[in-house]
Point group: C2
């Protein structure tokens, strides 16, 4: 794909904070989100430096109008805009960059400044209506680690793993925006020596560092897509924390896969970094160990070079960076995952969220879950005195991600704090 001027590293914004090289949101980024201020109404905006450009306001006065006659920024979610398709996404991005660049026409400065909101004064909301959430399993290192612990170290990867982008349907109703507290789940727990399960709060609450791909345009039921089409169908990416209860998972997951161990909460970052903004950071997937079937092959580099970190902080404590990794090592790209998802004729559409799978590198310090970092709790992390095998109530987890190059494309952060488990539901007659 040809570079356009939205990727010009020399471009500067009249919003000064966007020109700081350490800023996640320079004029080359322009991620979309949903926010509210005092009146509570949820609006669509673009992050620029330390501010938000209010697109709902600009659309109302006609300064941006991607949907023509039909407003698309007045619903509080990005789905109507996403449904307009890749050409409109690219053109709108070009327009917004033009409005934010240092050389914008003087007559536009007043209405644009009126539409600028400090991020510090805004509350962020879920940027899309998540129509569905599918979680994949695309890190070979993660699949190998989990297979070694839960199944057989000699055959850690299932035979299909090098052929299929393995995934399963997750739960969309509990996808929440960064900052939403996560309640420790109740579940059935059973140790290997126990005769029967008991009801209790998960004692092995974990995180999963992932990247989420948001599908923008869909395919009709019964009509598969190619990897090239799938790449274009993806609107953008977010950080994703797929909170997981390992003790619930190990007892429930045979034969139909993870269910309540993953259903209680999935956090995403509030800013959707567009696929357009990530273009300069495209890179290929790692070399194939088995040749893929033709429908999964890619003629272009569809992965991205994205640095990722996990911070963990006990209640009131100082955050410790417990993992540093990179998305580029994922064996399957989101385009391959989407292609496989639609292969059966499964209809995909705006607001479908695809989790990459836990992003793990080769060392414990580059893993995306505590399960792997601590080898199922055997080697607890040291958080400046406090030890952690798994999460305790009050712990806060923060994911961060960014691309480094001629400029920085940041994802901001994805944060969540653990609340104590709720009361168990009563038996009849209680």
């Amino acid at each position: 794909m040809a570079q356009d001027d939205t990727h010009d590293p020399a471009r500067r914004s009249w919003v000064d904070s966007a020109n700081d090289p350490a800023c996640d949101f320079p004029i080359q980024n322009l991620p979309y989100g949903a926010f509210s201020t005092g009146d509570g109404a949820v609006r669509i905006g673009v992050a620029i430096g330390e501010a938000i450009l209010d697109l709902t306001a600009l659309e109302a006065v006609g300064l941006v109008r991607p949907g023509g006659e039909t407003a698309v920024f007045d619903q509080g979610v990005l789905n109507p805009f996403m449904a307009l398709g890749p050409e409109v996404w690219t053109e709108t991005r070009r327009q917004i960059a033009g409005l934010l660049e240092a050389g914008v026409e003087e007559r536009l400065r007043a209405p644009l400044e009126a539409a600028l909101v400090p991020q510090a004064a805004a509350q962020m909301h879920l940027p899309v209506f998540v129509r569905s959430y599918t979680d994949f399993y695309a890190s070979k290192e993660h699949a190998t680690n989990v297979g070694s612990m839960f199944r057989d170290p000699e055959n850690a990867l299932t035979p299909n793993w090098l052929h299929i982008p393995i995934g399963y349907n997750g739960r969309a109703s509990t996808v929440v925006v960064s900052g939403t507290a996560i309640r420790r789940p109740l579940g059935q727990l059973k140790g290997p020596e126990d005769d029967a399960p008991r009801l209790g709060a998960s004692a092995r609450l974990d995180i999963e560092l992932e990247l989420g791909a948001l599908v923008g345009t869909g395919n009709p039921m019964g009509q598969p897509v190619s990897t090239a089409e799938a790449y274009e169908m993806i609107f953008g990416y977010v950080l994703l924390n797929d909170w997981s209860a390992r003790d619930i998972q190990v007892w429930e997951y045979q034969p139909l896969g993870p269910f309540q161990a993953k259903a209680f909460g999935t956090s995403i970052s509030p800013w959707v970094v567009t696929r357009d903004a990530l273009e300069p950071y495209r890179c290929p997937t790692p070399p194939r160990e088995r040749e893929l079937l033709p429908y999964l092959q890619e003629a272009t580099p569809n992965n991205f070079d994205i640095r990722l970190e996990i911070d963990l902080a006990p209640a009131g404590g100082t955050p410790v960076t417990v993992s540093r990794t990179n998305y580029r090592g994922m064996y399957y790209s989101a385009a391959q995952q989407l292609t496989h998802h639609a292969l059966s004729g499964c209809a995909m559409g705006p607001g479908d969220l695809l989790g990459s799978g836990t992003i793990s590198g080769e060392s414990p310090e580059s893993c995306g879950s505590l399960l792997e970092m601590t080898w199922n709790g055997r080697d607890p992390l040291d958080l400046g005195g406090e030890k952690r095998g798994f999460l305790q109530d009050g712990d806060s987890v923060t994911l961060r991600g960014w691309c480094e190059g001629a400029y920085r494309i940041g994802f901001g952060s994805c944060e969540g704090t653990v609340l104590p488990a709720p009361e168990a539901p009563g038996a009849p007659g209680d």
Copy 2:
């Protein structure tokens, strides 16, 4: 729960066809659906005999008004009405029964007759926006049969099965209304002796006879519910055919469960039979083989006695009834499934669809899938000359269900015809 006059067997309707004892939709039933006629606008209605009472029209003129100031029958789906909760459902049912009974006030007859549409003149639509689809596995006979074929006949049931209502998240975007054709899925196929998978059309396309429970009211994230609460949260039930590709399933399903083998289509019947209408047919689940944890125990009989049949017809051929079974044998009720679903804190809400799992009895003629009836194709069915191990292109499948007692509560039917597979997506450069 106290009986009310909506269950009075002596009650008759001024819609004559509703008084035929063989009719699925007497005045004691009153299932809800979404339909359109010539102008294409999707409306909400109640089935009565061979007709539909147009609730969208009656709401507009004020003859029914469950939402008070807010219209709930003008959205083309039942979700806004379902969100109003059990007391409103019961009261609305009582009102509609009053409008349809033989002794209705004379002054109402003209506006009511004007709102009556022949079912033969209506096209049916998906009655709800399916927010999510979860498929369970509650027939012990089915789980035992599948476990015997795909895993180990000596340990067919996984150890968790007698403790957990096992389920997994399915794909909501391909839930379709009865009458929608189903395209045979493409997928990765690999025989046990093959070195690598190939891409192809499923050769083991199957059906799964299930009952679908539609959640009407929800629970907030982080807040579990009791079985008594869960029972009340369910608005109604539909017939459900969970089309399945057994050859895709067997290669893909480890370790994270069924995915594309089930994603290409799920059919539901157009009429939602309310939980209120099923009250006289409540029955207990079968005796427990292991005591359930208290949160799953039930103080009331929460299953239903529903007779079920499957018809199979080759293209242009005569339908043959290939299975006769009953929902009453399911080991877990929908209330137990919903309680377990929410246990982790998973938020449930209007439009969540819970599939019961394939409904199978002890004999092949009472099984809910061809996989079981033919023992994975070994013993093909005889359809008056043609043999069937699995479905062929052009085959039509029809599910039927009804309760028998002082009157008949019918579900109508759920039909689907198999279309040939689509073309495979091209490799790069094709």
